[in-house]
């Protein structure tokens, strides 16, 4: 029957039974198992399993997406399948958004509710009795419990107008170049498409390097670490997960670039490109929020 649907146009493509999903599951499971062992002082076994799982996942992505690409190229997908992919991607990004909203929510809660309490303002102000000599300020450079060996406050706050601002410019312009590439694709102008993608990727990599430098600087010069109280915690949680997404995005862009060089995309059939574009723009937007709420305000 699957055969039939493929031949007669307009019918929905149902893939054959596939071993990729179960591979994905095993990969994820091993990855997590390895992580757990590794962070519980079983480094060797842990890291071995972790690497196995990671390799499995890498192989999987290549394989699964490869399969999808082939099916697409051999014209098995009709418009409805294409819509399914688009909507699927949309809801996936929606869930990603929810994930980031969580951390922004925490930032808000800690800054505007928790710390004022500890600093003796507002409701539950009595908590100040426990932290007599704690002055509330943000960025948090002095901790409620200064005697606690587990935490050490940062020496200074992250300055927004240096590297972070530069990074903002970089990501924004990468968004522009990506759109420019998209126009190229729509016009069927392949060189413009490829050029646009290459520039976008370079910008992505540049952003990544700057971010890495910023982390290094924060650790060595500013004592801004994960242990620097909630300022450090929120800072690294938000920028860290964003950085992760930039990395993934850059990798996906590279794949797309390779595919455009192979001329996989046509004016009408280029869902993969758009999916990645959406993802990239989403990462952009998250960064804007980051810049405003984490670095600037």
């Amino acid at each position: 029957m699957t055969q039939a649907t493929q031949t007669d146009k307009g019918a929905y493509f149902i893939p054959e039974p596939s071993h990729w999903p179960i591979t994905a599951v095993s990969g994820m499971f091993l990855l997590f198992l390895g992580l757990i062992l590794a962070i519980n002082k079983m480094d060797l076994a842990g890291s071995l399993i972790l690497v196995t799982g990671f390799a499995l996942l890498a192989h999987l992505l290549q394989g699964w997406f490869g399969a999808v690409i082939d099916e697409n190229l051999s014209g098995k997908y009709n418009g409805q399948v294409d819509r399914s992919f688009r909507q699927g991607m949309f809801w996936f990004i929606a869930s990603e958004a929810a994930f980031f909203v969580t951390f922004f929510g925490c930032l808000y809660y800690l800054r505007n509710i928790t710390l004022p309490w500890l600093g003796g303002e507002g409701h539950l102000a009595d908590s100040h009795l426990l932290w007599q000599n704690f002055q509330y300020n943000w960025p948090l450079l002095n901790l409620p419990d200064s005697s606690n060996a587990k935490y050490a406050p940062a020496k200074e706050a992250m300055a927004p107008w240096g590297i972070p601002f530069l990074n903002t410019i970089i990501l924004l312009s990468s968004g522009v170049t990506l759109t420019w590439a998209h126009w190229g694709l729509k016009k069927g102008n392949n060189p413009q498409l490829v050029r646009g993608l290459v520039i976008t990727i370079c910008l992505g990599v540049l952003f990544f390097c700057l971010q890495a430098y910023e982390y290094w600087h924060a650790h060595t010069e500013m004592d801004l670490t994960l242990n620097a109280g909630v300022y450090g915690s929120t800072f690294y949680m938000l920028t860290g997960f964003h950085g992760l997404h930039v990395t993934i995005g850059t990798i996906m862009l590279t794949v797309i670039c390779a595919r455009s060089i192979k001329r996989h995309f046509t004016e009408h059939n280029h869902f993969a490109f758009e999916a990645v574009a959406w993802y990239w723009h989403f990462v952009d937007v998250v960064w804007i929020a980051l810049f405003i709420f984490v670095y600037w305000l």
């Binding site: 500890l118 539950l124 009595d126 908590s127 009795l129 426990l130 932290w131 419990d145 606690n148």
Partner: protein
């Protein structure tokens, strides 16, 4: 036929559940919320009765409707479905009617609820202020106005005893007819303090101070428990309040004060203590504070609480032992006892631990050593 029987069965079942519902509201106290003995819990109790009654009425109505439907609209009785019941005026307007009615009931509940809420959350000035600190697994009560401190531990009883798990060595003593303010906090994990008869519960959070209050109207002993899962001992940290007349309370307060003064004097006096005195004192301190986890035999609970008997710390160098007792072990149930016990108590308990079970170090740690180690 079968249909009919089922329908009747169904009806009876529904009736039974309905009546049970009613029972909650109107049966005697054994089935109902524990009788209140303070102004605030009285208010709450009335609110509880209001909502319970509303709930019961709603259940009766719903049950009645269903029973009637089951009786009247049975296929086996040749009922003919009214295929456009949903198109008559009711069908067209039910989506407004029902919400409006429900909204009415909701708002009436909400209004009386939020007035009670305001009095629960009111922060008027209090006659007595008690700081309640939950820790794994006991309650510590500090009368902030006059430096009295009461440590309240579970009293070990047989599972057959009527007070099993509900009695403590020394309860929180409060005066009747006075407004008492409670500041709740915790030294380790979340606990939750309260006793339905006299104090609505509030959670106690490490690093934060939560607040509630009461004004007890009847003398008596009121028993609550810890109401937030706090680990292995969660079932074993009752909160007992003994309410006495104001003048009895004054006597008790005076007596406690003098005792406290004595103890403080003892602790700060630079007398050198003999090993046996210390061990004796230390045994008390140990039973009060340490036994819940490390057990009477010092063997702890394998995998959960380390043994002290023959342990590297309790049988090793004194410095390490003091360090661990004073500063605790972050991220575990082992609290920092420095702030909670005075020099003498720490010296005593350490000495006790170093000379009990399989530990025979023989050294007698002195208060001044503790002061030095702090």
């Amino acid at each position: 036929m079968l249909e009919r029987r089922t329908a009747c069965l169904a009806a009876t079942l529904l009736a039974v559940v309905g009546c049970l519902g009613a029972a909650v509201a109107h049966a005697d106290y054994e089935y109902n919320l524990t009788p209140p003995a303070s102004t605030i819990t009285q208010e709450i109790f009335d609110l509880h009765m209001l909502t319970t009654t509303i709930a019961t009425i709603i259940m009766v109505i719903v049950t009645a409707m269903i029973i009637y439907a089951l009786y009247a609209f049975r296929h086996s009785q040749g009922a003919i479905p009214d295929q456009d019941f949903h198109n008559n005026w009711f069908g067209r307007w039910a989506w407004v009617l029902v919400p409006v009615i429900v909204l009415g009931i909701d708002l009436s509940i909400a209004s009386s609820a939020s007035s009670t809420l305001s009095s629960v959350e009111s922060h008027d000035k209090a006659d007595v202020t008690v700081k309640v600190t939950g820790s794994q697994w006991k309650w510590t009560y500090e009368y902030l106005d006059d430096g009295i401190k009461v440590v309240s531990n579970l009293k070990k009883l047989e599972p057959t005893d009527p007070l099993y798990l509900r009695d403590v060595d020394n309860p929180l003593v409060l005066p009747t007819g006075k407004r008492v303010r409670f500041l709740l906090t915790s030294s380790d994990v979340l606990h939750n303090w309260g006793g339905a008869e006299v104090v609505p519960k509030k959670i106690s959070i490490p690093g934060y101070i939560n607040e509630t209050w009461t004004n007890i109207t009847k003398e008596g002993v009121y028993r609550g428990q810890c109401y937030e899962n706090c680990g292995a001992g969660h079932a074993f940290m009752p909160a007992v309040i003994s309410a006495v007349s104001p003048d009895k309370f004054e006597q008790w307060r005076a007596q406690q004060k003098s005792q406290a003064a004595q103890a403080a004097a003892e602790a700060s006096s630079d007398k050198v203590w003999g090993k046996d005195e210390l061990v004796a004192k230390g045994q008390e301190v140990y039973t009060k504070n340490c036994m819940a986890c490390h057990q009477a035999n010092g063997k702890g609970l394998p995998g959960v609480f380390p043994a002290l008997s023959g342990s590297k710390i309790a049988d090793g160098p004194v410095a390490g032992h003091l360090e661990r007792v004073i500063h605790g072990k972050p991220g575990t149930a082992m609290a920092a006892w420095g702030p909670q016990l005075n020099d003498l108590e720490i010296a005593a308990v350490v000495t006790f631990e170093r000379n009990s079970w399989d530990n025979h170090t023989g050294d007698a740690v002195q208060p001044k050593d503790v002061k030095a180690a702090r």
